[in-house]
Amino acid sequence: MAEIARTTFLFGVGFVPLTVVAGLVLAVALNSRTRLFIGLRAAYFLPVVISLAAWSIVWRLVLAPDGPLNALLQLVGQSPVAWLRNPALALEAIIGVQFLKTAGYSMVLFLAALQTVPSDLLEAAKVDGATRWQSFRAITLPLIAPFTLMVTILLTIASFKTFALIQLMTKGGPGQATTVLAYYIYQTGLQLFDMGYASAVAVVLFVAVLTLTVLQLAARRWWVFEGEGI
């Protein structure tokens, strides 16, 4: 059980910051209304509307021992990698697959956040000679902080919900290397039918979700610019 809590935690630690940062970077890069950029946004967002089951099944093929990713590696002279069968790599691989599925979602949330930054502030900074990076650091980032917090909470909760990915790609294995809490609940409660034990695990997961949410909301007090909020 401690091992499974640790795996769940590691999954979140890998997945959430990566997806928050990538979403922010994509949103800033694509925050323009030209046709090309709207098309690029749509392409990045496409995996979000696809079912996680379909995404997992496609990626199970991509990461298969003789699959296309290893074939590409061999073409450039690298040796193939046992993505999902190596206990040291499987969790990272799963994180990567979940990340590619979710980055577009994070991007769209940040795009909405960027629209709330008043353009006259950015104009004024430009007139005062601020570089793009400076105005991003000093204006944009503090102003969208409440949204960043919300995105972090949403993605943290999403990371606790990881199920289809595990069920379809690794079944929690190899060993228990990718058994996260949500999958463990399913395994113990609905496959082994030890419902009491599964419910106890569920309570642990619930307390974790609740604590993180409360902590993050509390962090808002000193972390977030006190504007109108959301």
Binding site: A29, Y44, I50, V108, M195, A202, I230
Partner: protein, 278 residues
């Protein structure tokens, strides 16, 4: 670096970043058209050397795939209708009606959203099992219509009704409409765009749901929905039949991808809104 070349660099980077997002989907379509024997051919064939479009026919003959597809469709519509009814009525009540405990209802409902469905699945299974509904499709309608998706919907509709000018409804009252009349004749007809967003979001969530159909139908082939069905194409030893899985997966993604291209703005706005304000 001039700003034009910076722009070209940016676009190049953004296009390269798309490779791991889109190439797997290209590979999916490519594999769906190959004979199973060629799936792992080396060097990899992005354009199949031998075409086998019968994979798409086999998908329907080897499994009750048509039935599973139809299940996903009608369960989706049932959920849209049920969720819309709950969200419209509850959302309107929370936006406009005064009743004791009104201030408590919304925080209570929203705190229920903190409970991921993965946590609730075991007690829900026990509940539906006691009702004798495991191994049927009934829970797949009951759970979303009275669960988290309806709460998100209720919240969306409440926000929408709050944004409607009260004067419209007051005018209706002056003209002699009662509470129900105001709702049915004035508020409801104006809610079209919000309702469209809600319908698309609900349908999409339902089309993509995996855990609930897997658990509540007991995995019975004639009851499961598409996301669960995709994994059913296996050899006798349980290993995946990749070409058939990819054909089935392509068929399951197709309508979603089409609707996404057509209603992209609705979908993106809906997901951003229900995420950020939920």
């Amino acid at each position: 670096m001039t700003s034009a070349s910076a722009r070209v660099t940016l676009i190049a980077m953004l296009v390269v970043g798309l490779v791991p997002v889109l190439l797997p989907l290209v590979w999916m379509i490519s594999t769906s058209l190959k004979p199973e024997f060629d799936v792992f051919a080396y060097p990899p064939q992005i354009i199949p050397a031998r075409l086998r479009p019968q994979n798409y026919a086999d998908v329907f003959s080897q499994a009750p795939f048509a039935r599973q597809y139809f299940s996903s469709l009608y369960l989706g519509f049932a959920d849209v209708v049920g969720t819309a009814i709950v969200a419209l009525l509850a959302g309107y009540a929370l936006a406009r009606l005064r009743f004791p405990g009104r201030g408590l209802v919304l925080p209570l409902l929203l705190s229920a959203l903190l409970l991921p469905s993965e946590i609730l699945i075991v007690p829900q299974y026990a509940l539906f099992s006691n009702l004798g509904l495991i191994g049927t499709q009934v829970p797949l309608v009951l759970e979303p219509v009275f669960g988290a998706p309806a709460i998100v919907g209720t919240f969306l509709m409440r926000q929408f009704f709050l944004s409607l000018p009260r004067e419209l409804e007051d005018a209706g009252r002056v003209d002699g409409l009662g509470g129900l009349g105001v709702f049915l004749r004035i508020a409801l007809p104006l809610s079209g765009p919000a309702l469209a967003t809600l319908a698309i979001m609900t349908f999409l969530a339902n089309w993509n749901a995996y855990l609930e159909p897997l658990v509540f139908t007991s995995g019975r082939p004639e009851l499961i929905t598409l996301p669960v069905a995709l994994n059913e194409f296996t050899n006798f030893d349980g290993t995946p039949q990749y070409s058939l899985q990819m054909a089935a997966t392509t068929l399951s993604i197709l309508p979603v991808a089409l609707v996404f291209l057509l209603a992209q703005r609705h979908i993106v706005a809906g997901i951003a809104r229900s995420g950020l304000k939920g």
